[in-house]
């Protein structure tokens, strides 16, 4: 399934004194199997953009094509579509409402109109996907869990609909490092098992670790679109967008300035480590 944005523009409160252009002429395509990181400074329109991807917001002009079909066309069942394109909002734990974890996760599948057995099965699968033990947590109230666990329950609630594409709006916001690694691990596993992932993120290090593609937004416009390697070597552009580059990239720049012979497009810790090891071995042949 591919999602294609064509000249997407969104204006809030159009025609009033409070008019503001949130998105301006955005075009790019989300291809099957992508792990696309959507990055940009606060207020650049990322959250507005992701809400267009499953039809929660309608573009002021432009189109969102899902498999070539206009998402906002007249004959499209947007509810059905929303289930193929799962959207996890920022702080999704605030959407929990049921008495038990299992019931809350079942909310989506129930809206799909599935049989009780199928729902049960999906709840189990979704809980396994987010590393929550079914026997331990299914009967508990979601409100007595920790923040990180609540977030995993909320993500499971979206996964239970078994979407082909999963969109996450800053899934790690407000979590401690341990909780963050946990969520990112889950997202990585989902991508590896074949889900197309779109993740909004502020952390360039997370993006460097996970993404296969980076789309940069600045002031509602598309600034750049490419692989992490292509994006992170444009250090000045990223600084201007208020984003910066991963720690590893910064270190590479600093080392190159001191005369070390390193390629300028390294951006992950692992590859930097490999190159440094090679240099060290060259300098110290035993």
């Amino acid at each position: 399934m591919s999602i294609q944005l064509k000249n997407l523009t969104h204006v809030y409160s159009g025609g009033t004194a409070f008019e503001s252009v949130a998105l301006h002429d955005i075009s790019f395509e989300i291809r099957d199997g992508d792990f696309l990181a959507l990055v940009g400074h606060t207020g650049c329109g990322k959250s507005t953009l992701v809400q267009h991807l499953n039809g929660l917001l309608k573009p002021t002009s432009g189109q969102v094509l899902v498999d070539g079909e206009d998402l906002n066309g007249e004959h499209v069942d947007r509810r059905k579509l929303r289930m193929r394109i799962g959207l996890v909002f920022q702080y999704p734990e605030y959407q929990l409402f049921e008495e038990t974890v299992a019931k809350d996760i079942a909310f989506g599948p129930k809206n799909l109109g599935l049989s009780a057995a199928e729902i049960e099965e999906r709840v189990r699968t979704a809980m396994a996907q987010v590393h929550l033990n079914y026997d331990k947590y299914a009967r508990r109230s979601p409100f007595e869990l920790s923040g990180g666990q609540m977030r995993r329950v909320a993500i499971a609630g979206v996964l239970a609909m078994q979407p082909k594409t999963l969109i996450l709006d800053e899934p790690t916001a407000g979590l401690d490092p341990h909780g963050r690694d946990r969520i990112l691990g889950i997202v990585r596993e989902l991508h590896q098992s074949g889900t197309t992932v779109v993740m909004v993120s502020h952390s360039m290090d997370d993006v460097a670790r996970l993404a296969t593609r980076v789309v940069v937004l600045a002031h509602g416009s598309l600034l750049a679109d490419g692989t992490p390697r292509e994006i992170f070597r444009q250090r000045e552009m990223m600084e201007e967008a208020g984003l910066g580059v991963p720690e590893a990239s910064r270190l590479v720049q600093a080392l190159r300035a001191r005369g070390l012979d390193l390629p300028d497009d390294l951006y992950t810790q692992d590859e930097l480590y490999d190159h440094l090891l090679r240099l060290w071995k060259e300098a110290n042949p035993c």
Partner: protein
């Protein structure tokens, strides 16, 4: 979708009326309401309407905004009009305008219908002049100060005003939150729009539970933050904005007093009202 709801209709411009003391504005609005009830004829209403129109010019508020304030009341206005039109049954000779089947419209009925709808509409327009030119915070300040003499009989004027300001402050926050939760549930296939009444009420549960949870959480946080900054109720508390009466307030009072004087004169001149 919920963002279009505007609660409180403060129109943020600077003007002579905006700068008046909120206490004075509240009292003058009450005086205007009394004036509306003193009027006995359409001429009186015309005078009042002219006065409010002039005031809206002074306040830099478009007059159509005040007329727009009537829109939510259109059903009550129509109902008032129709009830008075059809069910006026004063004694004595009645001039009948229309008589068809069981429907009878008399001249007195028509007069009454127009009169009472006009009264209702003017009441709303008078009060919207105040709400359009006074920010909610100023309003609650004004109410607090006006009610503070009642503290002698242990009336919680400060607490009441504080609750009002907090409620007002959190309306946009909670609306935004509701919008977000609604979208999140829609992303999980929730359907808020179709189905019968019971189904729709049930569909509100996934919206209301998280909303209440978050409201309580916010309330707890706010209480903690207030206490951390040594809030302990109204006793001995000074204020940031000290309200002071100026000569502008005096002018406003004189203007309204003159208006009421004119209306009383008009009422005395035409004790039975003007013929329609």
């Amino acid at each position: 979708m919920l963002k279009n709801i505007t609660l409180g209709q403060y129109y943020p411009v600077d003007s002579w009326v905006h700068r008046l003391d909120p206490r004075v504005k509240i009292l003058l609005t009450i005086a205007l309401i009394v004036a509306v009830f003193l009027v006995r004829s359409m001429v009186g209403y015309a005078i009042l309407l002219t006065f409010i129109f002039l005031a809206s010019c002074l306040a830099n508020v478009p007059f159509r905004l005040m007329i727009k304030g009537l829109k939510p009341l259109r059903f009550i206005l129509i109902l008032t009009f129709l009830l008075n039109l059809f069910f006026q049954s004063g004694g004595g000779e009645q001039e009948i305008l229309v008589h068809w089947w069981i429907i009878t419209i008399t001249r007195a009925g028509l007069r009454q219908a127009v009169f009472f709808s006009a009264r209702l509409a003017l009441l709303v327009i008078c009060t919207s002049l105040m709400t359009l030119t006074t920010s909610p915070i100023q309003l609650s300040d004004g109410i607090e100060l006006l009610l503070s003499p009642l503290k002698i009989i242990h009336f919680p004027a400060h607490e009441l005003a504080m609750m009002m300001s907090i409620a007002l402050r959190f309306i946009p926050t909670l609306l935004e939150e509701a919008d977000k939760i609604m979208k999140a549930q829609m992303a999980r296939g929730a359907d808020f729009e179709s189905g019968n009444l019971i189904k729709r009420a049930k569909a509100m549960v996934p919206l209301l539970v998280p909303l209440f949870v978050s409201a309580f959480r916010r309330a707890g946080d706010l209480a903690m933050a207030m206490e951390a900054r040594c809030y302990h109720g109204g006793e001995g508390r000074t204020r940031l904005r000290v309200l002071k009466l100026t000569r502008h307030d005096l002018f406003a009072v004189i203007a309204v007093a003159l208006l009421i004087g004119v209306i009383i004169l008009e009422r005395a001149a035409m004790p039975d009202g003007w013929p329609l």
